[in-house]
Amino acid sequence: MAEKVIYAMYDDDDVLKDGAKLLVAKGVKVSDVFSPFPIHGIDPIIGVKQTRLGIVAFLFAITGTLLATYGMRFFMITDWPMNIGGKPNGTYLDNMLAFVPITFEFTVMCAAHGMAITYLLRNKTLPGMPAQNPDPRTTDDKFVIELKHSENSQFSEDELLSMLKQTGIIEIDQKEIN
């Protein structure tokens, strides 16, 4: 279903932040903000939910730890018993110390790659995916607030536009997106 959205453009992140505060105070729902860099403190203003990326990172890390443990037990103990520094070996626990660095590194690698890929997938920004931002200038020096009519049905279109115009915008644009 096609949806009508309003894009209001600013040329300063502080002006955008003050504008967003004003809009939210009046009960307007800001659905998104596009910016070339992270704007400190914008998340609580427009009500972005706390990210769950940390939980995902923990799950990836645990996967890494388990895989590394299982892998090294198989490679170094079961499949081809390795003589590690002349130590009496034969079990995983006897040689545990030698496996700690690799377990640690593999845990970090799985967590980091897992987080990065999850992040790109969730934001639909994997390499080759079509760009999501409304205006190429938001990757340079402009900032855009996105309002959806469906989320602000208590306001008429004119009301929304006049409220936006009080917040120091430099351009305004309306689109229908799918």
Partner: protein, 400 residues
């Protein structure tokens, strides 16, 4: 806003000092006649002398690190860091007295290499390994180095302190850039001195043994203790209503430092162990033999509370912003690092005869009482907000 030491904290430090002195006296009188009493007293003097000195030094290092990296967020807690670093001259004084007495007692069986018998080929206490190291480990060179550390630390500490107060009066950026250059030079000195002072004061206790990681290990311990003290002191001041510019993000950052330096310390603890284990270095195994035979519970218990405990408890974002959790973890970590220094000194000197009794706890309480009282008094000597710090505005708006 000027800080005033509350009557409650005065009473608390007085109780700490009183109980400490009482315990120490009980500890000494109940062991009169023991052949190793002097050794035990001197070992404990060294433990507490080094431990509290190291917290002050860790804070000075942290301050220099902020200057050298031109960090902004710390500006509102700068006076807290300076107050902890202000323990340095007192800590140096105590450590110097302890080291001086040990030197006059020919090592007091803490530093075996100070005993002239060990380097005398005619004596039956002659020790070839110690004799081989005597070009570096001798009383004169030891004191030259020790004084060099103290003089350099003291001069830089005084310089940072005076410039910080001057900045409050005159403002501008000139002092900021001077601090930037001075701290970079200080960090170079510190990089060398933190390692070699750990060899001199602590590693030479295990005189037959050596480890190239030892200096960093001690440094990581001091840094972690200093960060823990800083976060707890900041929370304490915040609770009393001081430091209006400090918000949750500052506390979060300090919590992250505590978390990260705990990891740094654990990483070095493990690396030192693993390298010796992996490479089968026979002559270095003695260090771990002593610890595993006589200190098994404390040695691994201390590793657990300095590593696994903060890792699990401080992992989440909320925990690093929660005053109660941070204070609780901080107290445990500080005890853990005291135990670390206790084992560093005792295992090499007292060996199997070491135990934690009235004497150990008493002297640690005296040290803690004196330390807390001194840093609280230091806080009263300067306004709690550095008004003309060039990054103060950034710090006030710190948000992560």
């Amino acid at each position: 806003m000027e800080f005033k030491v509350t009557n409650k904290s005065k009473t608390l430090t007085n109780i700490l000092l009183g109980v400490g002195v009482l315990f120490t006296a009980i500890g000494i009188f109940s062991h009169v006649g023991d052949h190793n009493l002097v050794q035990r007293i001197m070992a404990n003097g060294l433990i507490n002398g080094f431990y509290f000195f190291a917290i002050g030094l860790g804070a000075l290092f942290f301050l220099a690190l902020q200057y050298a990296t031109e960090t902004g967020w710390y500006a509102s807690i700068k006076r807290v860091i300076e107050a902890v670093a202000g323990f340095l001259p007192y800590g140096m004084g105590i450590l110097a007295v302890v080291l001086l007495i040990i030197t006059f007692l020919d090592g007091a069986h803490v530093y075996l290499w100070m005993d002239p018998e060990t380097t005398n080929p005619a004596s039956h206490h002659y020790d070839e390994i110690i004799d081989g190291k005597s070009a570096y480990l001798n009383k004169l060179f030891f004191w030259i180095r020790t004084l060099a550390y103290f003089v350099v630390y003291f001069l830089y500490w005084r310089g940072f302190k005076n410039r910080s107060l001057e900045e409050d009066r005159v403002g501008g950026t000139e002092i900021h850039f001077l601090n930037y250059r001075k701290s970079a030079v200080f960090l170079v000195f510190f990089a060398v001195f933190s390692s070699s002072s750990a060899w001199d004061w602590l590693m030479s206790i295990d005189v037959h043994w050596f480890s190239t990681l030892y200096g960093w290990y001690c440094f990581a311990g001091m840094w972690c203790s200093a960060m823990t003290v800083l976060v707890m002191l900041t929370i304490y001041l915040k609770k009393l209503g001081y430091l209006p510019n400090v918000n949750d993000s500052h506390i979060h950052d300090l919590g992250k430092w505590t978390f990260a330096t705990s990891f740094l310390w654990s990483y070095l603890w493990f690396s030192q162990f693993m390298l010796i284990w992996y490479a089968n270095l026979g002559e270095e195994v003695v260090y771990y033999m002593t610890r595993i035979e006589h200190y098994k519970f404390l040695y691994f218990g201390m590793f657990f509370i300095n590593f696994a405990f903060p890792m699990v408890v401080l992992m989440s974002r909320e925990a690093k912003r929660h005053a109660g959790i941070l204070t609780f973890v901080g107290c445990i970590i500080l005890i853990g690092h005291w135990l670390d220094v206790y084992i560093l000194v005792s295992a090499g000197s007292m060996g199997a005869t070491a135990s934690i009794g009235f004497l150990e706890i008493g002297l640690a309480l005296v040290g803690a009482g004196f330390f807390i009282r001194t840093i609280l008094k230091n806080l009263t000597k300067a306004p709690l907000t550095p008004v003309n710090h060039p990054f103060l505005d950034e710090s006030i708006h710190h948000e992560i």
